[in-house]
């Protein structure tokens, strides 16, 4: 099977997945950074794709957003979103997906249960730690928050993001059973 069509099909699929999670509305926090389900899409891309594909999937979504398509939660889009307080997190998404996939590759995925546990840790490493690190830097630079405040603020999202990592593990568990030839950590090779 040819890689180019595989690549195109999966990268656009996961960009769409993140977009779909954007239809489930965000919860606005006073910080100017919403709680959104889209990070679940970022984690899933990382857990199910190869690092390059995962990065590209999120980047494709962000490119479409930049072009003005209203694909961020709450129906936001356009270049303006990259100058909002949450911009740091946004930039962190593709990196987070990439790191998640890298960690996934390094962890065992042979049995469905193993794969699920690995997915949880990979999602925490990439989808949580990396994204939040970028987010905190963004808050400091754009919202002019002091580091301590920014760190405290980002803690608000941790419980939700941990739940998302658990959901990611559940989905990976299902995929490992339903599509045994989906190479977890190795991406969509057959």
């Amino acid at each position: 099977m040819n890689n180019s069509s595989r690549q195109i099909a999966t990268v656009s699929l996961f960009a769409a997945l993140i977009a779909v999670f954007g239809l489930i509305p965000k919860i606005d926090l006073p910080l100017g950074v919403p709680i959104t389900l889209q990070t679940l899409g970022v984690m899933l891309a990382g857990a199910l794709l190869r690092p390059r594909q995962a990065f590209l999937a999120v980047a494709l979504l962000l490119a479409a957003v930049a072009l003005g398509l209203p694909l961020l939660s709450g129906g936001r889009g356009g270049p303006a979103v990259f100058f909002a307080p949450s911009a740091g997190y946004l930039i962190g998404w593709p990196l987070g997906a990439w790191v998640t996939a890298l960690v996934m590759q390094a962890l065992p995925t042979a049995a469905p249960r193993r794969a699920a546990v690995s997915a949880f840790f990979a999602a925490v490493a990439g989808g949580l730690l990396v994204v939040h690190a970028c987010g905190v830097v963004g808050l400091m630079l754009i919202a002019q928050l002091p580091a301590a405040k920014a760190l405290l603020g980002t803690l608000l999202f941790v419980p939700g993001d941990l739940i998302k990592a658990v959901v990611t593990a559940g989905v990976v568990h299902t995929v490992a059973r339903g599509l045994p030839d989906w190479q977890l950590g190795g991406g969509n090779a057959r």
Partner: protein
């Protein structure tokens, strides 16, 4: 793949895709910048009116729109608990507007037309070494998958309700992801065989 595109003709089908996209992008920006609940309420009524004006072609919007309205109501309720009703109202109205506008676009525009517009917009990027047609294919597929997600979710939910008497709810998230991965494989197969990509 499944789609929401309605083949019942409506007046909006005849409006060029570029115009609709520009309107959506402009509208989206305006909505994002507005924090005035009254203005947003007027916009929401207008957007719902737009959907209604599609007549039978708007039928496919009923279910996603109902879901959105319920969610919007929940959102306001949540903010009421936090004591931030105005913030919740703004978010809810924005959600209703953008969903309605987005649905109006997908129901009345063939993705091919939409992607053609974007491909034309991106032509200048050719000088930077980016291949607009490849990017356009990605975008086209992404938009198709978004619809497919919805239609597929409806199908799964239909099967679940029929077989158990209950809606599937969140239990369908993992099966749906699996179905979507399968769909991606099939699309890849089709692209491979039919386009030689």
């Amino acid at each position: 793949m499944l789609s929401l595109y309605a083949d019942t003709p409506s007046w909006l089908h005849r409006v060029p895709a570029g115009l609709k996209l520009a309107a959506l992008a402009g509208g989206g920006l305006a909505l994002a910048l507005t924090t005035d609940a009254l203005a947003l309420a007027v916009a929401a009524v207008a957007a719902l009116g737009l959907l209604a004006s599609l007549g039978p072609a708007g039928r496919g919007a009923r279910r996603p729109m109902t879901v959105t309205l319920v969610v919007a109501a929940l959102l306001v309720g949540l903010h009421a608990l936090l004591g931030t009703v105005p913030l919740g109202l703004v978010a809810a109205l924005r959600l209703v507007c953008t969903t309605a506008l987005g649905l109006a676009l997908t129901l009345t525009t063939r993705p091919a037309d939409l992607v053609e517009v974007i491909e034309r917009l991106l032509q200048p990027l050719r000088h930077l070494g980016l291949d607009p047609s490849r990017f356009a294919l990605h975008l086209a597929l992404m938009l198709r998958y978004t619809e497919h997600f919805f239609a597929r979710w409806q199908q799964l939910d239909e099967a679940h309700r029929l077989r158990t008497g209950r809606p599937g709810g969140l239990r369908l998230l993992a099966p749906l992801t699996l179905q979507m991965l399968l769909a991606a494989r099939r699309v890849a197969d089709t692209l491979h065989v039919r386009l030689g990509r």
